[in-house]
Each structure stands twice: as structure tokens, then as C-alpha cells.
Subunit: 667 residues, 2 copies
């Protein structure tokens, strides 16, 4: 089957790139950080898609890819024409532009952080008993020095139960932290972490005498009585309502492509609903998690999980019946190891249907007749582990043209050591010697809209009180909407108390019923944005995190909200440059960037493993249709849905074991 | 079985009350508006519940009920001791205090509005063809005149297809509106509705010459191609995880009582999680929907759906596989007709489990081992139809101690007539001659907290930037929380940009891990509150709708946010009185009132029947537990969950019919 321009990079293509790079540097060992394909240029792709629709031969678009790699300490980026197998260009990035960390080296730094002679000597001061060992989380270094040119790794150190691989080291953070050169692996120094009442006094390493571990693994929690949860089975005996043709999905009058990649996790292309264009490209564009603990070195705790290492390459291998329930279709991802080997990450994106309650209902009270349709959803989910945290990102499609981006944060809080009887007002005590500092999750989602075409406009509508005591409004109850147009690149201020609604419209297509331009609404609740000072590196590097919604002109290379290279960056080479107010963004090909933010004040219940915190962006038709587009759904019926009464189910249930903890229900 | 003080009123008790009233007025025909039980006094109930827990004989608490009824035009309220079968007191409410509308009379007003001679003459002016008839929605009259003492009914009139009972009359609003005396049924006057470019000029009734109906019923939409939605079956073959003992529910270490009633729909009492007290009573307390169309008579469009008529009495009869999916337990409600007959509303509250994705997950990237638990929820749902609109209210319990109140608005927009080529900035055109005015849904939920006991305190925590360039905060990245205590009754201002978090705490119980008082957080996104002027009747009657969260001292009779009698009220006899800043509410028995508000700017997609608009309040543990309380859940496993791969499901699916529209999936 011919390759489609949207198709994921193939194993062969990855090997082509790797070989080309290695052949370019026969005397060096390139250290690969990331290899993947580029998008086809949009202009060519639009022609391609139009040709497909018309059933004519589409233009040839050469497949292009890129590689980030290190030659010695020099950071390189190559662009490769994979179709014709040649290097387009090979750029050595300027001094100070640091590439992503080499994910495969994490194990090496863990090992160095305990076995390097200086670290080993430090550990010996702890006088640890036989059953306790040191565990390391190598971390992105962050930024506080514009003169730092080296890729550095900050190793956060912890203790754990040596006798079980899943012992929760996060509950026992240590007070020293080695720093290594991320490329040369050289030892740089040891940082000492503050933990006391005098908040910025750090400690020498001395004998460690307490090991109050807070465990989460079932083998270690000490919990003997497990809550009984009766199975809830989701089945689709007549098949599913979606089709999968390599990357192309069709479901309930939607069509789109789901393509996993190394950096963004999964991208959704060419989204159409009921034959009409909605979005050209939808993706997570960046994510940063700055910490509010002001004391060094925690001021540098601010990873950019996409730019610094990659969301897709950290994608979980998902398991049936674990992360997704029902009838599941999986997609694989692929990456390249540090030495250039191709590795598949299997079953990392899952696709499935789910039921989500009623979609619409009305009862004619006069007759008792009702119309009711249930809301079926289609989920595209990817979950990535970034050291301690997990993020589950879902793109959820419904039957009326809405897409919901849903993010669930779970996993384990990042922790700092704290001494007994000490408390701070920028962190929560989550265990006897452990504190979880306040932090923020700030995610950028990129919407490249194509509402009935590529020339779109962003507007915002406020609901305002009418002038009082007028002929129109004599009772002073009236309110109306006022629309503003985003003419130039920039951001829109949040305004929850005017019910500000962000919309993406096509001014060239008028809805015959509402008599207004067709559009979609972007729904985000008002949120606190980045708290670090505007002059701090933390904020200078992440302009996207200062405002909730941005609009820029479209360019092919405007993909990542904070810029292409975020690791130890000094400033933002993304929105800070593209949203500078100079370019026209009205009625043209533009991009909308949404910042989904939540300030995380940890609670004890978040430890040792965190119940999901859920946050959403809604992208929903607003005047796109002349009326409810789901009148063509079947009415809900139990002939189809086969629900049963509690009383009957209790009588007929299968008893696998007679459980003494089950009370007999009173019927 | 002995009756429990929380138990729903019984048929016998309803009959006792009706008989006592009728016997008191042997020469009159009481017109019953509402009959139900009162709550047991809290002080006595606390003793009762304590006795139950200790296994000793509980005190006797006589069951008491009330009735609202009319004797002639006089509005009465009686209190009845149902246990001893006598009237406690019979109060004639003062002139101007108007009771709820008599729901059973709706059919009568529909009939009067077309058959009363004056109305009939008006209709004749329309010169309607044979297949079109007039349909009426009798409405709450609202308030604009402090001297109006009569209970009035405003009849909004529409056209529909006479040949089908489910023809959508809302798509053809007429321009005249009769008003009747709600008790005597006397004709009062006809109002004429504005519809033109000159917005406040109203029209005489003339020949109707266009009939563009916008239909939703499958028989009438003209839609021939129905989207195929393959069944998604939810089953629990080993039984469910909840038990039902009359009204008492036990599920996943929760216990609580679910009791339907006439006004609030369903109330949840005595909520405990893992043996600890959380909430004494949880309920919807009022709901008002003011319209933003400033022109008379629409300025009076502002129903209070609980106080004006009752949410429970308007509860839908739910059907298996329609509103709820899976294994469903139903509860009935009961009401009294206008003439005092007992009527059961069967299957009006549904209870069931549902799966809601992952609850927590962590992967140890070093070993690949993961822990993952799925999030099971327990749903208590009731759906009421109030003329055109439906509201589905769900109380959703999870396995970590959280309760989510979820409201889905659906049904049909309330519409106004509009002439061709006219547009307004306070409404949306949803059809050729029909406009849906902007409005607001403002719901009050009442939380009577009992976090580890009855003396609770409400606080709010803001996240603020640390002072810059200090020894503690040299890099200017720090942020901290600042707590404020609600000392006196009143409200808390919204403050989304300080991440303001509302919490209910027990200052007398300190969490040994976090070293702070145990508590729960109330999560509501920032929202626009009521837009009508503070001096308008609309706002004076609904103080609760002006702010998002209120705290008052507890009293037994403080149940309804806008007061007991809202129909055509002039002011607020609820929060306006109780939240006046005089009473102490700190570390005492208090009540928290949450206003869930959304301004509804209709979109064409909302018509003719509206896809659900979903809004939530979260009530979630915050420092209530020392750590994640769900570590005792079983790990997710496919042996239990029985998910299947898409490819295998497609091979093994049952083909009931060979559908030509099904593409074969590429495997």
C-alpha cells in the first residue's frame, strides 16, 4: 500500500535517517536524541487532500524527516528527504542552544549518581542499613544562568526498600543532589538541598536514621482488606461503530487521521464532521511544570515535557482492560535509541468507544412521549510517564461535532526533603520527612483550524448588561453579546465575569438560520496562569503559560508553543516571537494556541500515588450547523442497550466465589 | 419494618395529611399544590443516628409533614404530625405571598387558552389551515408589580402540526399571550408580544401565512438515513457493588440515604465515607432561569423551578436502557394531585455504577512495572421536565471520597416570535420565524457539611506570588497559599486568578500527616452570575444567584436558597436574610450554598432539541485522609475487565443484519 503523507514514520525511514547521519560522521559516534518525520508542507498537503477527494492523482510530496543528535557536545539537527534518501541540511545549533536529553541515558545517570566515587562517598555518610538503597531520578536541569552552555542533568536522590523494585522512593528524598554533564557524563558538582526551618540553610550529609516509607505497591502497602469491586463489562457484540484504515479513522460521520509521533504523542489531522472541514491539525504543543518552591535548586525545577525529552517517546505500553475498557484498537509508536536502533513502543495509543450518558432528551408532558438519544463518544488516548508523573491525554469526539481534550494527571508527586516539625507555606507535608511543593501544570494545545476552509477568524463574545432604564430595557433585566475580532497576532485576556466565549469562525460562510458566520467555540474555564515573575527565566521561557489563548498566523514551522528547543532555554522561541502583534490573523490561515493550566496545591490524598486530577478544553460547534446535527441518531432503546433491573441482575448473577463480605441486598 | 425518620413520605401519610386538611374545610374544596414530609429536626436526628451506630434504641421522632393548598384564593400551609395524625398548625399566608402553581391545572389552562371565547376569537384571526392547531405552554407569571396579589398564569402560544402529537410547537411561537387567574381560572387579559425590527412595537394578530416547522421527532424530521450506532452493552454478571436497603445505599465504603421528595427531587442524607462523616444533607435548593430579553412581557420570564412548582413532582419516569445504562436500581417518588389523590411517579430516581477511566496509574520506568486502578462511580440521577427544558441532576460518588454534582441541561429552548429579516443582540435565530433569547441557568446546591463532626468552618485559600528579590525568593519563582476564614454569614467572592479554593474544614481535627485541619474542597469554575440589575425584581428575588458561594448558620428551616415561597415573590426570603453578616458561622453547625451558574447564549445546534450542556460542582477530600484512600482497590486486570482487541471483536461479532453501509475494516 502506498504511503500517505500523514503516515507515521516507518522503521525503514528511521533507519534511512540514522544511516545518513552515521555516514556523515564516520569517525564519531552520534548520540541520537530524537528522530521522526516532519509534516508535509501544508500548501502541498491541501492540494493532496483535494485531489484525494476528487478521486484524481494527488501530487507527490517527498517525505521528510529530522534527527536531533550530538557529536561530542555539539548539538546537531539534520533534515532528511526520506523519499530520495539524502540529507537536506545539517545544522550545528549555536552555542547555548541545548537539545533534548537523551532518554536512554537515564539509566546511566542513575548508575553514575550512586557509583561515581564522589557520590559513593556521599552515600557512605548515610550509614544505610542493608535493606535500604539509594534510587535516583535524573532530571532536566532547567535554567538560571544565561552563560551555561552544557546540557546538564540534575540527579534527585531518594531512599527505598532494596528488597522490592517498586518501593516508593519518592517518600524519602535525600538532601544531596549530584549534577552531571549530560553528554560527556562528567561529574560537575553536588548540590545540597534545603530542608529546614531556616528555609534556605542546607545540610551536610549525615547518618540517616529513619526510613518511614509511604508505599503504594500492593505488595508493600500492608493493606490486607481489598475493596471488592464487582466487574463491569463493556462489550460490543455486534462490532464497533468505527473503522480503522491504517491511520484513518471513521466514526459517526467523523473522519480524521491519528498519527503517533515522538514529541507530541499523537497528532490528529484533517478532521471532518459530516463532510465538512473542522480542524487541519490538532495536537498537544508543549507542557511545562514550574515549581513554586523558591529555594535553590528547586527554582530550576521546570521541565518542558515535550521539548526537553518528548511525550511520545515516554508513552506507556497500554494493556487491555487496564487503561481502556471495552473493545480497543491500539496503535504503536516508534523511536530511535541513543545509538540509532529502532524501537517500537507497542500499544501506546488506544482508540475505543464509550457511553457518556444522555445526549438529548425531551418529554412532551402532555402525552408523556419522549425522545431520547444517548451520547456515544470516541476516545483517542495516550499516556506518558515523565519520571514521577503520568499524564493521560484524551481526544474525545462526540456525535454532535464536539471534540473534548481531556487531560488526567496522575502518578507520583515530586517531593523534597523536610525535617521533622518543619512546615512551609509553599508545599504540603505528605509523609513524615517529605514535602510536595506547590507547582503548576501548564499545557499548550495547538488548534490549526479549518472551519469550512482555511481562512478563519478568532473572535471573543462577551455578555454584558444593557444600559438601564431605557425604552428597550425598562425593567433592567436585559443582557446582550458584544463581539470583538482578533485582528493581529497576540492573546485574548480571560474574562469569566463577562462569560467571555472564544470562537473560531469563518467569516466567508454564513449560517442561513442564525445569519451569522459559522464557527466553533473553544471552552476553557478561567484559570490562574504562570506564577513565576515575568522577568524570571521560568516565565521568559514559557510565554504560552502567561495567557490562556493565543492566535498567530500560520507557518509550517510554528508547531511548538515555546519553540523547538526548550531544554535549558533562556527565552521563548515560539509564541513570544509569533504572537508579537505585527501579523494579521483575521480571515486567514491562523493557529489557535490554548493554555490549559492548573495550579497544583498537593493534598495528602495525592500521595503516594495521585488520584487523577481532570481538566478539559471543549471545542464545540457554535453556529456551524443550522440545527442539532444529531437528529439522525437512533432513539435509545433497551432492545439495543440491554440494561437490566438491579433486582433481576442480583437474582441471575454468576457467583464465582462466595464472598463473606457481600451483604445480601434487600429487594 | 419500622419507618426510619429519613424515609420518604408514604402513601398512607400523604392520605393522612389530605384527610386532615379536607376535614378542616368541609365546605370548601381545597386545591392542593404540594404535600410532603418535613425533615426530622436535626438535633433529634443526630441523637437518633448516634443511637443507631451504638446499637441502642433510638429516640422516637414523630414524623411531620406539610401541605400547601388553596381555599378559594387564600393560600394555606399546614404542618401535620403524621405519627399522631393531627394538625400542628394551619397558617393562611399573608396577602401577596403566593404559593406554587397547581401542576395538575396545566392541562386546564392549555384548554382555556384556546377555548375561552376571547382566546378563540383571537385564534380565528390567524385563519389557520386544517392541519395546524394552537398549542399552549402555561407559564409562571413572574414579578414586576409589588401590588399583584393574584396567582397568575401566563400562557405562551404556539402553532404545531395537528396531525402528530409530538410536532414541535416551539418552532412557531405566536404573538399573543393570554393571562389567567391561576386559582379562579378567570381570564385576565391578553398580552401582545414584540417581534419586530422596532423592538418594542407589538403586533395585532393577523392571518398567519407561513408554516416552517423545525421538527425533532423521528416521525417528522424527514430524516431517512439514521446513523448506525453499534450497541455498547454494560453488564455486571457477578452482581453490582452496591446494596440497597430501602433508602440506604452502601457502595465502596460509602453509606448514605437517597430519598426522593416533591420539591428538591432527591435528597442525600447522612453521607459517610470509610466510616467518617462527610455531609449531613446534600440537595438542590433552588433553580432560577431569568431571560435577558428586556421587552415586556419577557422581563417576567424567570421561573424558580423548585419553589414555583417542584422538581420532584416534575420528575421523569425513567426507562431501562434510555437514561441509564447497565444494571439499574430505580426509586419511586410520590405526589398528591390537586384534589388530594396520591400518585406514584415510578422509576424517577435511578442508581447505578459506571466506569470512568483510570483512577490512578504509575509506571516505574526502570522496571516497566505499573500500578493502575480504574475509577468506578456510583450515580444517583433524577431528570425533571419543566415545560420546555429538561434538567438531569446527578450525584456521582467515586472511590476516593469525592462527590460530583453534575447537571445536564437539555430539552427545548424557550422561544419568542420574530419577524422575517429581524435580528436582535439578545437572542439567537434558531428557525425562520423563531428566536431563542439569551438566559441564565442559576442553580443553588445546599451542602450541610459534617466533616468529621458538625462543627465546621469554611475557608478560602488563595495562591499568591511571593515577594520578589528576597533571601527566600531570589529567583522570583515562589508562590504560596494564604488562608482566610469565613467568620460571619455571607458570601465569598470569586477569584479565579488567585486559584481561590473553597474548603470546608473541621478545625478540631488535625490531619497527622499534613498537620492541618481535615477538610473537603468545593470545586466550581468561575462563572458570570445573574445579569439582571441588583434593583430589579429578578435579582432581588434570587440573592443566591448574585454570588457563587454562601455560608450561613444552620437552622432546620433554612432549606431553600431563595426562601420557601418563590412564585411571584417580591424579594428573597432565603439567603438575603440568613447571609446578612450578623451570625457567627465559624467552627459551628453551618450550611454552604453553591451557585452553579451558566449564561446560555443559544446556538442553532441547540434547536429543535438541545444536546446536553454539562456543568459540575466537585466536593473532594482535601487533607481529609493521610494518604490516597484508594490504595485498597484491586489492580485493574483484564481477567476481571474482559476487554477485547478490536481485531478479535470484528472477527467474532454477531451480525444481526448485513449492513451495506459497513465498510470492512482494514486489519
Amino acid at each position: 500500500m502506498a504511503i500517505h503523507p500523514f503516515d507515521q514514520i516507518t522503521d525503514d525511514e528511521l533507519r534511512i535517517i540514522v544511516k545518513l547521519v552515521k555516514d556523515s560522521y564516520p569517525n564519531d559516534k552520534p548520540l541520537f536524541a530524537q528522530v521522526d518525520r516532519l509534516d508535509p508542507p501544508k500548501k502541498a498537503m491541501i492540494q493532496y487532500l483535494d485531489a484525494e477527494k476528487q478521486g484524481v492523482a494527488p501530487p507527490v510530496i517527498p517525505r521528510r524527516g529530522y534527527a536531533y543528535f550530538y557529536i561530542g557536545e555539539a548539538f546537531h539537527k539534520v533534515l532528511v528527504n526520506m523519499t530520495f534518501k539524502h540529507i537536506i541540511c545539517d545544522e550545528t545549533l549555536p552555542d547555548g542552544v541545548i537539545g533534548p536529553m537523551v532518554v536512554d541515558d537515564v539509566a546511566l545517570f542513575e548508575e553514575l549518581s550512586v557509583n561515581h566515587p564522589i557520590c559513593k562517598a556521599e552515600i557512605e555518610k548515610l550509614c544505610l542499613p542493608d535493606n535500604i538503597h539509594v534510587v535516583c531520578d535524573p532530571w532536566i536541569y532547567g535554567t538560571d544562568d544565561p552563560n551555561e552552555k552544557r546540557l546538564l542533568i540534575q540527579c534527585y536522590m531518594y531512599l527505598a526498600n532494596k528488597n522490592h523494585s517498586e518501593s516508593n522512593h519518592y517518600s524519602l528524598p535525600l538532601k544531596f543532589s549530584p549534577v552531571f554533564n549530560g553528554i560527556t557524563k562528567e561529574f560537575v558538582r553536588i548540590d545540597y538541598l534545603p530542608s529546614g526551618a531556616d528555609e534556605f540553610v542546607v545540610n551536610e550529609t549525615t547518618k540517616w536514621d529513619e526510613f518511614p516509607l509511604v508505599e503504594y505497591h500492593p505488595d508493600l502497602t500492608g493493606i490486607t482488606k481489598v475493596r471488592e469491586v464487582k466487574p463491569l463489562i463493556i462489550s460490543q457484540p455486534e462490532g464497533v461503530s468505527f473503522t480503522v484504515d491504517k491511520h484513518k479513522i471513521e466514526w459517526q460521520d467523523w473522519t480524521f487521521y491519528v498519527v503517533p509521533n515522538a514529541r507530541e504523542g499523537a497528532v490528529i489531522y484533517d478532521i471532518h464532521f459530516k463532510g465538512r472541514s473542522v480542524i487541519y491539525r490538532l495536537s498537544m504543543s508543549e507542557m511545562t511544570v514550574p515549581y513554586g518552591d523558591p529555594r535553590g535548586p528547586f527554582h530550576r525545577k521546570q521541565a518542558f515535557d515535550l521539548g526537553d525529552c518528548g511525550f511520545g517517546v515516554n508513552g506507556n505500553v497500554l494493556g487491555l482492560g487496564c487503561e481502556c475498557l471495552g473493545v480497543i484498537k491500539y496503535l504503536d509508536n516508534r523511536r530511535v535509541t541513543a545509538t540509532g536502533e529502532v524501537e517500537v513502543i507497542p500499544n501506546t495509543v488506544c482508540l475505543h468507544e464509550q457511553d457518556a450518558g444522555i445526549l438529548y432528551k425531551h418529554v412532551n408532558y402532555r402525552t408523556g412521549h419522549k425522545v431520547v438519544a444517548r451520547r456515544r463518544e470516541f476516545v483517542v488516548q495516550i499516556i506518558a510517564t515523565v519520571a514521577n508523573y503520568e499524564y493521560a491525554v484524551q481526544y474525545i469526539f462526540d456525535q454532535v461535532g464536539e471534540i473534548k481534550i481531556s487531560v488526567r494527571a496522575t502518578g507520583i508527586l515530586s517531593t523534597m526533603p523536610i525535617d521533622r516539625d518543619v512546615d512551609v507555606n509553599y508545599g504540603t507535608l505528605v509523609g513524615p520527612r517529605v514535602m510536595a511543593a506547590y507547582h503548576q501544570h501548564l499545557l499548550s494545545f495547538r488548534i490549526d483550524p479549518a472551519i469550512d476552509g482555511h481562512n478563519n477568524t478568532v473572535v471573543y463574545d462577551d455578555v454584558l448588561r444593557m444600559e438601564e432604564n431605557t425604552k428597550l430595557n425598562p425593567y433592567n433585566v436585559g443582557f446582550y453579546t458584544e463581539r470583538n475580532y482578533v485582528e493581529k497576532s497576540g492573546f485574548i485576556e480571560q474574562s469569566p465575569f463577562t462569560n467571555r466565549a472564544y470562537k473560531i469562525i469563518n467569516e466567508n460562510v454564513i449560517n442561513p438560520t442564525s445569519k451569522k458566520p459559522v464557527g466553533y467555540k473553544v471552552v476553557m474555564p478561567a484559570r490562574q496562569m504562570i506564577m513565576a515573575s515575568p522577568e524570571s527565566f521560568n516565565t521568559k521561557r514559557a510565554k504560552f503559560a502567561t495567557e490562556q489563548i493565543w492566535v498567530t498566523k500560520y507557518e509550517d514551522d510554528r508547531l511548538y508553543a515555546a519553540g523547538e528547543f526548550t531544554n535549558q532555554s533562556h527565552d521563548d522561541t515560539g509564541l513570544a516571537q509569533w504572537a508579537d502583534g505585527t501579523e494579521n490573523v483575521r480571515n486567514t490561515d491562523n493557529i489557535v494556541w490554548c493554555t490549559l493550566g492548573f495550579t497544583h496545591v498537593p493534598k495528602p490524598e495525592d500521595f503516594p500515588v495521585m488520584p487523577v486530577e481532570m481538566h478539559e478544553i471543549g471545542i464545540t460547534p457554535f453556529g456551524f450547523f443550522e440545527k442539532n446535527p444529531a437528529l439522525d441518531l437512533p432513539q435509545a432503546s433497551n432492545a439495543t442497550n440491554k440494561s437490566v433491573l438491579f433486582e433481576e441482575n442480583e437474582k441471575s448473577k454468576l457467583s464465582t466465589t462466595q464472598s463473606s463480605c457481600c451483604k445480601k441486598p434487600s429487594l
